[in-house]
Amino acid sequence: MEADDRALKILDEIANAPRESGSVTLSPDYLDAIRCVESLPQNQSGADKGWIARALEQSSRFPARAVLKR
């Protein structure tokens, strides 16, 4: 029971935490660009997206291979 009370207290704290807000208006150009990107053949259901994780992993490893020269 004590553990349940503690869990509920933690959940209440998270739920009641103040949230930053203030909605943003999206420009017509940006919304057009999104529609354009969504309509690309490679962005339809069934497309293989394995390259994304590989590209991000590659880019994150690149700085780790850097050697200080001076």
Binding site: E20, S23, S27, G46
Partner: protein, 173 residues
């Protein structure tokens, strides 16, 4: 297999409904590597369904991820009582392992789950189906949330798309 794809497979095996949202979701629509955003978090949007939440927790733990509520481990056992409390409070639970952090969210600003689910795209990673929210939904949700990190993402994303789409229009054929 990719860690996230392995988790998605575990979620499917348990008939869990989820949709990828957030910056990681937006990455699935990137037209080129130049429009990818580095992020440590994978955000999953779940319906307000305690049974589904418990199946998601089981899949995460089965994949070696630990469950956290705020800075505390999620209360054990992760029974229906805790799941009901999480759903009632729309509380975020984080599942994490060394290099994989997954936020199990019951809230997506401006959207309900069924709308996002109905219009989702299903992409493939290592042969595993990954349900992803529409890019328009992800961006509109970030605009509605309007946190500092959302504003930063929107500005950078808009610029990246403008450059990439502009480049493709100006490319000689």
């Amino acid at each position: 297999m990719d860690d996230f794809a392995a988790l998605a497979r575990a979620l499917h095996e348990r008939d869990t409904r989820f949709v990828v949202i957030g910056v990681w979701g937006a990455n699935f629509f990137a037209p080129a590597a130049g429009a990818l955003f580095t992020t440590a978090d994978r955000d999953l949007f779940l319906p307000l369904d305690a049974e589904n939440v418990m199946r998601a927790w089981d899949a995460c733990e089965g994949s070696g991820l630990s469950l956290w509520s705020g800075s505390e481990p999620l209360d054990t056992p992760h029974d229906r009582f805790i799941a009901d409390a999480v759903v009632a409070r729309r509380a975020l639970v984080r599942a994490s392992r060394a290099e994989l952090q997954v936020d199990l969210s019951l809230v997506m600003a401006g959207f309900d789950f069924e709308t996002v689910w109905t219009e989702r795209r299903v992409f493939l990673v290592d042969g595993v189906e990954i349900p992803v929210a529409r890019l328009a939904h992800i961006v509109e949700s970030k605009a509605a949330a309007g946190r500092e990190k959302d504003r930063l993402f929107l500005a950078t994303h808009a610029d990246a798309l403008r450059q990439l789409l502009g480049d493709s229009k100006n490319r000689p054929t």
